[in-house]
């Protein structure tokens, strides 16, 4: 439940206090140089501080009151930038910390080897990869790992917020456990799978910590642009002094610095890392852990989503609804055979066949052991299951799989199924159902109609994705006809039928070769290669360790449809950066109109014509610009943390809207803002 409480943006005084303290710590130039824009502001703030001291001692011609105020606001500019970053970090950290806390306090029962039952108590943070630990009833699982012995009921609410306990056991798809969850009953032995500092939790914590955070590719590119603009304006400001000398006037360094700081993109420079951290943080709020900021950005770029049909688009269970025999076979015989083949089949489909046979023909379940039957389980390769007993061989499975099987068995490659069977199969497929062909001793008896039920609301979600420019591909082991019917019903753009694990990987590679970026979800070990290959691979927390390691995000709620939120958050992150960059650059127009006339008020009073805001005095004009420049960082902090509003629509529409709000808004807002500040400055007699 830890995460859900943090979802709303409420004022948290403790957080504010911590952020305020942190913003001073971050003044350390060794840390600040990572943000070139703010680094420049800090240097010039330092310079004006010296000028201020000199003016106090009358060592230069500057007015100490004016220089002092400028100095103060320059420091505020840096502090506000730091504060923004601290706020973003604080919010993420608060969430990570409570988990971290449990981890630090946890003691692990370290085992020497699998056989021994004696253990040594060590702090959880000391656990290394390959260590074996014992976890008993009531213990907290000390690290990410894999169950290698035992079965246990595990409470994962600390991470997922879901109160229902999960059964986990060694081997198979339910063997992985996450640090911080606790065992409710029984005891298990776990092999630790991550070194200290490498677990998902650690990754997430480092992502929200600005200092160690790796910049994402887009952030780097943007930083280059900002650094470039800083250099340009630095040169422009320095040369103004020479130009002004030509015109016969020296300009005070304080005013040059004021111009410089207002021109360089301090707004976005100060908010850039806050935006990045807040983006990761939003993911966490959706109970998704990302392994890197790059993965979050990539999510914004995704143009194809791969979704498993079963469990994602449809409810996992297909239900048998009808037995359709071929000519010459009675419905009862078909039902009987079908039931026989499904008695040992524990899949929901298998169970539904048994139930249907019982309900409709009152066929009793028989004891398989008595029959001495051998159950042939379903595999993705054969796409069939069945049962062998007393020289009888029953198979049920996909139409073409059974036909191929019979052809192979009878050595008769020209074997053709009865016409009516083909028709029945096609009819079922066309209707969105799954035909399950049943054969007995290489004789085709008929087909079982399995029906798939599409989850509610899927159509609308895919429609939304389409508007975002994202194509959805449904992956299914079904035959093309069935797949197409379900695809139509669910409203996906495309589907991959008859998919084997290898096909999924191939599909990803093919799409990537075309230049597309893909996202997928997965949970099984056989999804791992595809998860690793996909640009955004979201592993289900309920999935295997292999799957989790292959993906670059983990969904703690194990909800496959959450990919859609992931994409939206990735986009929102980029949009916020772009919008505030645009705003920051657009601001410069108004600042020129404030500072240039003030700057040359002595040499060229005629330039007052440019003072279209009618700012009162040259000093108040310069001060207003600097104050506006500092305050706008704080004013835009909520937007940076929440992210710019994003509604799924085409790029053209989004651009038009954001260009209008942040581009033209960025031109107009400072005119109004500086006028108001000028009014206050004069009202308070600050200049």
């Amino acid at each position: 439940m830890v995460f859900k409480e943090k979802k709303k943006l409420s004022i948290d005084w403790k957080l504010l206090k911590q952020a305020a303290i942190d913003s001073f710590i971050k003044l350390n130039p060794l840390k600040l140089y990572r943000s070139p824009v703010m680094f420049v502001v800090e240097i010039v703030a330092f310079l004006t501080t010296i000028l201020f001291v000199l003016s106090l001692k009358n060592l230069n011609q500057d007015n100490p009151f004016f220089v002092g105020q400028i100095t103060l606001w320059l420091w505020f500019t840096v502090l506000f930038g730091n504060f923004a970053e601290s706020m973003a970090e604080g919010r993420g950290k608060a969430q990570a910390n409570s988990l971290k806390q449990t981890k630090v306090e946890t003691k692990a029962k370290l085992l020497k080897n699998l056989e021994s039952n004696s253990y040594e108590l060590v702090p959880a943070t000391d656990l290394k990869k390959e260590d074996l630990v014992l976890v008993e009833t009531g213990d907290i699982i000390p690290g990410d790992g894999e169950i290698i012995e035992g079965v246990a009921l595990i409470d994962e609410s600390a991470i997922t917020g879901e109160s229902a306990a999960v059964l986990k056991q060694s081997g198979g798809d339910k063997s992985s456990v996450t640090a911080g969850t606790s065992v409710i009953s029984d005891s298990i032995k776990i092999k630790i799978t991550s070194n200290p500092g490498e677990s998902f939790l650690d990754q997430m914590i480092s992502l929200v910590e600005g200092a160690t955070r790796q910049k994402t590719p887009n952030e780097l590119a943007l930083n280059i642009l900002l650094a470039g603009m800083t250099v340009i304006f630095l040169i422009a400001t320095c040369t103004i002094e020479m130009f002004s000398i030509y015109a016969g006037q020296h300009i005070s360094i304080t005013i040059l610095i004021a111009l410089l700081v207002t021109l360089i993109p301090t707004t976005i420079g100060g908010l850039l890392s806050a935006i990045g951290i807040a983006g990761i943080d939003r993911l966490v709020q959706h109970n998704i852990l990302a392994m890197s900021g790059k993965a979050v950005e990539a999510a914004g770029d995704v143009d194809t989503l791969l979704l498993d049909k079963t469990g994602t688009i449809t409810f996992g269970n297909r239900m048998a609804t009808e037995f359709i025999p071929v000519v010459g076979v009675s419905e009862l015989e078909l039902a009987d055979t079908a039931q026989l083949s499904s008695l040992s089949d524990e899949t929901p489909e298998g169970r539904s066949i048994v139930v249907l046979a019982k309900d409709r023909y009152e066929l009793r379940e028989r004891n398989m052991a008595q029959l001495n039957a051998k159950f042939i389980p379903f595999t993705a390769q054969t796409r069939m299951s069945g049962v062998d007993y007393e020289n009888t061989e029953i198979r049920k499975g996909a139409f073409d799989a059974v036909i191929d099987y019979i052809r192979e068995k009878t050595q008769n490659s020209s074997f053709e199924p009865p016409k009516d069977l083909g028709l029945a199969v096609e009819k079922i497929s066309m209707s969105g159902g799954t035909p399950l062909v049943v054969s007995k001793n290489n004789k085709l008896l008929g087909v079982i109609h399995l029906k798939d039920i599409v989850k509610g609301g899927m159509r609308e979600r895919f429609e939304e994705l389409r508007r975002m420019g994202i194509r959805t591909i449904m992956i299914t082991g079904d035959n093309p006809l069935t797949a197409s019917a379900i695809a139509k019903e669910a409203g996906v753009d495309d589907f991959l039928a008859n998919a084997k694990p290898q096909d999924k990987l191939n599909l990803i590679r093919n799409e990537q070769a075309k230049g597309k970026l893909l996202a997928m979800t997965g949970d099984g070990t056989n999804d791992a290669p595809a998860l690793a290959q996909a640009d955004v691979g979201v592993a289900m927390n309920s999935g295997t360790q292999a799957a989790k390691e292959a993906g670059n995000m983990i969904d703690l709620d194990s909800n496959p449809t959450k990919l859609i939120e992931v994409v939206a958050i990735g986009k929102q992150l980029l949009i916020t950066r772009g919008a505030l960059t645009t705003f920051s650059i657009a601001n410069d127009v108004a600042k020129y109109f404030a500072i240039i006339p003030a700057m040359f008020s002595r040499t060229y009073p005629e330039l007052q014509a440019l003072n279209i805001m009618r700012l009162t005095t040259p000093e108040s004009a310069i001060l207003s610009a600097v104050i506006f420049n500092a305050l706008i960082i704080i004013a835009l902090l909520p937007i940076s943390l929440k992210g710019v509003k994003y509604t799924p629509s085409g790029a053209a529409i989004i651009l038009r809207r954001n260009l209008l709000i942040y581009g033209f808004g960025g031109i107009i807002v400072p005119f109004i803002g500086m006028k108001i500040i000028d009014f206050i400055v004069n009202f308070l007699h600050l200049a």
Binding site: L222, Y246, L259, G300, L574, I575, A586, I654
Partner: protein, 566 residues
Amino acid sequence: MTLSGIFQIIVYCIVLILLIKPLGLYMARVFNHEFTLLDPILCPLEKLFYKLCGISLKKEHDWIQYAQAMLVFNLIGVIVLYLILRLQNILPFNPDKFLAISPDLAFNIAVSFVSNTNWQSYTGENTISYFTEMLGFTVQNFLSAATGISLAVAFIRAFSREQTSTLGNFWVDVVRSTLWILLPLSFALSIVFIFEGVPQNLNSYVTARTIEGKVHTIPQGPIASRESIKEIGTNGGGFLNANSAHPYENPTPLTNLLQMLAIFLIGAALTNTFGRMVKDERQGWTLFVSMLALFLIGVLVTYFYEAHGNPLLKGLCIGGNMEGKEVRFGIVDSALYSIITTCASCGAVNSMHDSFLPLGGIFSLINIMLGEIIVGGVGSGFYGILLFAIMAVFIAGLMVGRTPEYLGKKIETKEMKMTVLAILILPLCVHCFSALACITTWGIQGPLNKGPHGFSEIIYAFSSASGNNGSAFAGINANTFFYNITTGLAMLIGRFLVIVPTMAVAGSLVRKKIIPSSSGTLPTTDLTFVILLILVILTVGGLVYFPALSLGPIVEHFLMINGKTF
């Protein structure tokens, strides 16, 4: 402003637009090595050239080789031209016995012509021999233009090709640019110019006894053949000092109209060539429309102020500002020409920009400062606007929530690094050199005019040199050691230091896959993108100059309104 004036501007634009498609198609065919009507004549010649020079058609260059070849080719150009200038006194075709050029001026001129700038520190009619005009200047007018076109085509290939490293063969591109494009156009234009009265001979200067009995020496020379390539190749260096204001270089309104069209012709058509080569003509038109909008703003403002006239002369005489303008062109065609030549990095002038009103001349300055990307110099303007398009796409891409991509190519850290570098160099160069001139005695001695107009002359000089334009607020005395060396360096930096990162961008882009577009992709062919591109050009490229402009033309305007003179 008159209706007929506006109409002239509109008709000019329409004629230009009509020429874009055919020439764009033709150039695309030339560079894709597809059949053109001139092939039967030119192909054998081309093959002969390759054989003589050891050029292999099949061997393509990656961006480093392409840039190296270009640099070597231009270095040879500078050396040869320098030697010609230094030795012109002993070379043939010098009927008027002009002396050798001094080393600093020779350096300046050599760099100027090779870099497609054609900044004129000298007066042509009493300094330059016919040999230099033909084998020095005319040649570099062709070769520097061919270099520009080749670079633009190489950059276009960075978008039209994918997952390869090569951008084409520099030598092949230069030869094809010269043979197929520059020579035929220049040849045809020369003939029309001669018909209209532009001299073309190798005679020595003519002595005339005027009606009132004075003795005049009238310059002669092979003017027409250089005049045409001067405009076609956006070189701009005049045969005579007054450039296209001179009645010998530009005798009639017809030659004037043809010159204005010729200056924009290749640059504008390259947008269409680009569109065709990336298989989406609308991409080219989008760039062109953005250029056209910026162009029209400049023309209308300039025309407005020039037509309005100098307020200081109010009541003394009637008419707009005619100082420095020719009667046969009048105000509209002079304003139009001044904007065309500065948009296009040409630098030919049919009137003296220095005598324009402050806000009549400001757009000449702004056009140059923006990097001459409004149509721009042949080739250079085109890769210039592509850099801005990349920048616009980057900002807009973020705003729509996708890693930016232009024409299916992802714009990533490396491209941004090089794009920012290439865009940065021009303002850095302009500001630093101007600042140097403002605080040194050598610099301050340059300007003819006093007050802010003198500052405008300095900033114009270095903008023009750095931007490889070549026009001037010509009052400045630039033929001094200081200005020859500084403007020479500015020209070198502004041309070649921009080209190298530009080619690096191309080299990086050509390796990338072309990503198919979806509705989530930022459309780069609609009005929103046009507006965005214009805003990016004005803010990222232009805002930085605001302080300098304030101290030059802007303050001069307000001083003039207030009746101040210097």
